[in-house]
């Protein structure tokens, strides 16, 4: 029996979850060790470091980049990433004249195999409501201001395609290895609310 602190109520999601899982286990419908394995995958194994490797590879290998932009699913699969909520991938490239940013206004669709599970802000009402209608104000909140000459292109994930932004490779990184380059690629740059780092954070 789990410990319940404070004053738990029938509506408490922790209580409801415990009730639901215990009933499903007793009925033989779910297996706890299988569920534990799913949690481990998404908490510890699948995350934005996957996407960063895809981006770094694209930065150093023009043929891979071309494949990535033509068929995102197959190119990403070359690096071993695929599956649930990333079955049909589209990679969109940032250039000096186009800045891409991804949202799912209707729910929270997000490319799990390359970025892991989405952060709370991505799923929140303010982001979903505002990024399609006032993207520059949203980007400014994330510390990114773009000149008027750049087209801000917002992709609303309304169907089952999942989008990943290929950020611009920062200046002065010509001598970096692929592994070093991957460290510059943040989750936020692959959603499009920021650019890649120009040097790794300490």
């Amino acid at each position: 029996m789990a410990q319940h602190h404070g004053n738990p109520r029938e509506s408490d999601p922790a209580i409801r979850t415990e009730a639901l899982e215990s009933l499903l286990v007793e009925k033989g419908l779910v297996d706890r060790s299988a569920m534990d394995a799913v949690v481990d995958l998404f908490e510890n194994k699948i995350g934005p470091r996957n996407g960063a490797r895809v981006i770094a590879r694209a930065w150093v290998d023009p043929a891979f980049k071309s494949r990535l932009l033509t068929d995102g699913t197959d190119a990403i699969k070359e690096l071993g990433f695929s599956g649930l909520q990333g079955e049909d991938m589209v990679v969109v490239e940032n250039t000096p004249s186009v800045h891409n940013v991804i949202v799912c206004t209707l729910c929270s669709c997000y490319p799990w195999p390359t970025l892991g599970l989405p952060p709370v802000w991505y799923k929140s009402a303010p982001y979903r409501a505002r990024v399609v209608s006032e993207p520059r104000s949203v980007l400014k909140e994330f510390g990114l201001e773009l000149p008027e000459s750049v087209e801000v292109r917002v992709w609303d994930t309304t169907a089952e395609l999942r989008y990943l932004v290929l950020p611009e490779r920062p200046e002065g990184t010509e001598l970096m290895s692929e592994e070093q380059l991957a460290l510059l690629v943040t989750r936020d740059s692959m959603i499009g609310v920021s650019k890649a780092l120009s040097s790794p954070t300490k």
């Binding site: 029996m1 789990a2 319940h4 738990p8 109520r9 029938e10 999601p13 922790a14 209580i15 409801r16 979850t17 415990e18 009730a19 639901l20 899982e21 215990s22 009933l23 499903l24 009925k27 419908l29 779910v30 297996d31 299988a34 569920m35 534990d36 799913v38 949690v39 998404f42 908490e43 995350g47 649930l84 949202v103 206004t105 209707l106 729910c107 929270s108 892991g116 599970l117 952060p119 709370v120 802000w121 799923k123 929140s124 009402a125 303010p126 982001y127 979903r128 409501a129 505002r130 399609v132 209608s133 949203v138 909140e141 994330f142 609303d156």
Partner: protein, 103 residues
């Protein structure tokens, strides 16, 4: 449906709050709710489309006031009850047992 979930372009939500170094899960129950998705998807016979529509129907106030994984929990409770896998009565009984320290 023209529900509350259809947020694109709406006004009045204010600034975007983002947490630095946010953990993947904020509570243990969120871990279990997330894992219940593949676990229930494979036997309960629902589609992601039905899943989403169930959330769209949870009521505007509830939708905005509850957290993301509470939306998923709502779906499991609805869909599993509707299909007879776990009824509301069974859930109410088990919740009472947990609160009484019997389970």
């Amino acid at each position: 449906m023209n529900g509350i979930h259809d947020l694109g372009g709406m006004h009045g939500f204010g600034l975007i709050k983002s947490e630095k170094n946010e953990p993947v899960f904020h509570a243990d129950w969120e871990r279990r709710v997330m894992a219940l998705f593949p676990a229930t998807f494979l036997f309960a016979g629902y589609t992601v489309d039905e899943f989403r529509h169930c959330i769209e129907n949870m009521g505007a106030a509830g939708y905005l006031e509850s957290s993301y994984y509470e939306h998923w929990l709502h779906v499991y409770e609805e869909i599993l009850d509707k299909r007879g896998f776990v009824t509301r009565a069974e859930m109410d009984k088990r919740i009472a047992e947990i609160l009484n320290g019997e389970k």
